[in-house]
């Protein structure tokens, strides 16, 4: 039932996107200056022309940064969420720091990371982690906290230990939150990786886009960005599929 509605709901959005693309195409053809505003067809053509370096060198480089960054964020984020849920003192001391860490303008201090870690993968991974770990911690922590007190009490009357309560109640309750966190974190980690590469790298889609900029190749700037968005959407869709397979009870709590 829900799926039916959401399918229906995407049709107006598709029409709007099509209209915007047509408008863009028309405007770009009228301006006729591809280095300032390339048309969608020019971008797609360029994407096709650049497919070999984009897909064999730069996409894998960016995906590596994204994957490593996301993995570290997940490990760190889940650990912190569990610790904050289990120990009130940890929550009191960590929560404000985690919130405050979000006020740091990551992109502005990212050049420092290049100074510290060089042009290799780790300066980009750090940018990615700084951007993604926050939504993961907060969302998953909220998930743990949303476990129903009455259910916890019921388990306690069965004689459940804290670990049993955690495994049998808190984890299942937090699972939908966990999937939301991942779906949020994937695009953010890709953005993080691209920003990192933009600031200094030898490969990656962010780096490639910037190189095209210096060559006044408008379509070449856009092509890797289109690729990044497509990959992000694809990954989110895969996670959404996994979510649907695992969680059948959403909205019933």
């Amino acid at each position: 039932m829900k799926r039916h509605i959401s399918n229906r709901g995407s049709l107006p959005a598709l029409i709007l996107v099509a209209l915007l693309l047509i408008g863009w195409q028309a405007a770009a053809m009228k301006v006729n200056a591809a280095y300032i505003i390339p048309s969608p067809t020019q971008i797609l053509t360029r994407l096709w022309e650049l497919r070999v370096p984009l897909f064999t060198v730069h996409l894998p480089a960016t995906m590596l940064v994204t994957a490593v960054g996301l993995l570290i964020s997940l490990l760190l984020g889940l650990t912190l969420a569990v610790v904050m849920d289990a120990f009130p003192l940890a929550r009191k001391s960590l929560y404000p720091i985690i919130i405050a860490s979000q006020t740091i303008p990551t992109t502005a201090i990212a050049p420092l990371f290049v100074l510290w870690f060089g042009y290799g993968i780790w300066s980009k991974v750090l940018v990615t982690v700084l951007i993604t770990f926050f939504p993961i911690v907060i969302t998953v922590y909220d998930g743990f906290q949303s476990a129903k007190t009455e259910m916890e009490e019921l388990l306690r009357t069965y004689g459940a230990t804290r670990i049993q309560i955690f495994c049998k109640l808190k984890i299942p309750t937090a699972l939908p939150y966990f999937f939301s966190a991942i779906k949020m974190a994937i695009p953010m980690s890709i953005i993080g990786a691209a920003i990192g590469e933009w600031l200094g790298a030898q490969s990656g889609l962010g780096y490639f886009s910037r190189r095209m900029m210096t060559q006044l190749d408008g379509a070449g700037v856009f092509a890797p960005i289109v690729l990044l968005s497509a990959v992000a959407m694809l990954l989110v869709a895969v996670v959404a599929l996994a979510e649907r397979a695992v969680i059948r009870w959403r909205g019933e709590l």
Binding site: K148, L154, T157, G159, E252
Partner: protein, 253 residues
């Protein structure tokens, strides 16, 4: 004696009066006893003390002759809402108390769950999710889960209050049938006078807060019971008397 409270006093930390004050009462093995009182009178507090979600400020609670502090899984508690875990199938829900107690193999647990599902009239429902069951079926599943704690003492806290009238009536008859077959000791909280009369051998009336004593009212009806018995003149008089005492309390409150 199955259950015995000796001079139990309890005060919620946030309040400046005792909810229970030097309360003593006892329930014999195999009895079906109801506690009635207006909402907010503290009857649920009595349950929360017995199942150790709360600890008394003074006094002793004994189950089977031993203090509850040194026992595990001595009572099966069934709260007002069924609290079936939506991410577990009905069978997995019933398995919860067995999982928590531990010491049973998977096939033993499955056998017990299957047996209990047949017992509560839900054969073949093991693989269904709670969301697929009706209100009455959910309550029966929750009762089965409570019974699988293996405790001789069942604490049922207004289990049928959320059901529609017809379902409630049939669930009352069903519960009575269950009890007549297994003769567990049942302590049943309700604010429905008719329900209390129909089910219990004696009724304990909460007639003031703080609860210092429970007024004992025996129900002059034999088991097995039929609903038609409720229209006997002495039962009608009993119902009026109980209703009066509750009504007076509402006014005073």
């Amino acid at each position: 004696m199955m259950l015995e409270l000796r001079g139990v006093t309890y005060r919620y930390p946030s309040e400046d009066f005792d909810t229970l004050q030097n309360l003593s009462f006892s329930v014999k093995e195999g009895e079906f006893v109801s506690i009635i009182g207006v909402s907010g009178c503290g009857k649920s507090t009595i349950f929360r003390l017995i199942n150790r979600l709360l600890s008394p400020g003074a006094g002793e609670i004994l189950v089977g002759g031993h203090p509850v502090e040194r026992q595990k899984q001595y009572c099966g508690y069934m709260p007002q809402r069924d609290l079936l875990f939506p991410w577990r199938t009905v069978g997995e829900n019933l398995r919860l108390p067995l999982e928590i107690r531990g010491g049973l193999s998977r096939s033993e647990m499955r056998a017990r769950v299957e047996g209990m599902l047949a017992e509560v009239g839900l054969p073949g429902c093991a693989g269904k999710y709670p969301g697929e069951l009706s209100g009455g079926m959910r309550q029966r599943a929750a009762f089965g889960r409570t019974a699988l704690t293996g405790s001789k003492l069942l604490l049922l806290d207004e289990p049928f209050s959320a059901l529609d009238f017809l379902t409630r009536v049939s669930m009352q008859e069903w519960l009575l049938g269950q009890w007549q077959r297994h003769r567990q000791t049942v302590l049943f909280i309700t604010h429905d006078v008719e329900e209390a009369i129909f089910l219990s051998g004696r009724i304990l009336v909460v007639d003031s807060t703080p609860i210092r004593r429970l007024t004992e009212v025996p129900v002059p009806l034999p088991y097995p019971r039929e609903r038609a018995m409720l229209s006997r003149p002495e039962i009608a008089a009993l119902r009026e008397r109980l209703l009066d005492s509750l009504r007076k309390q509402v006014k005073e409150g």
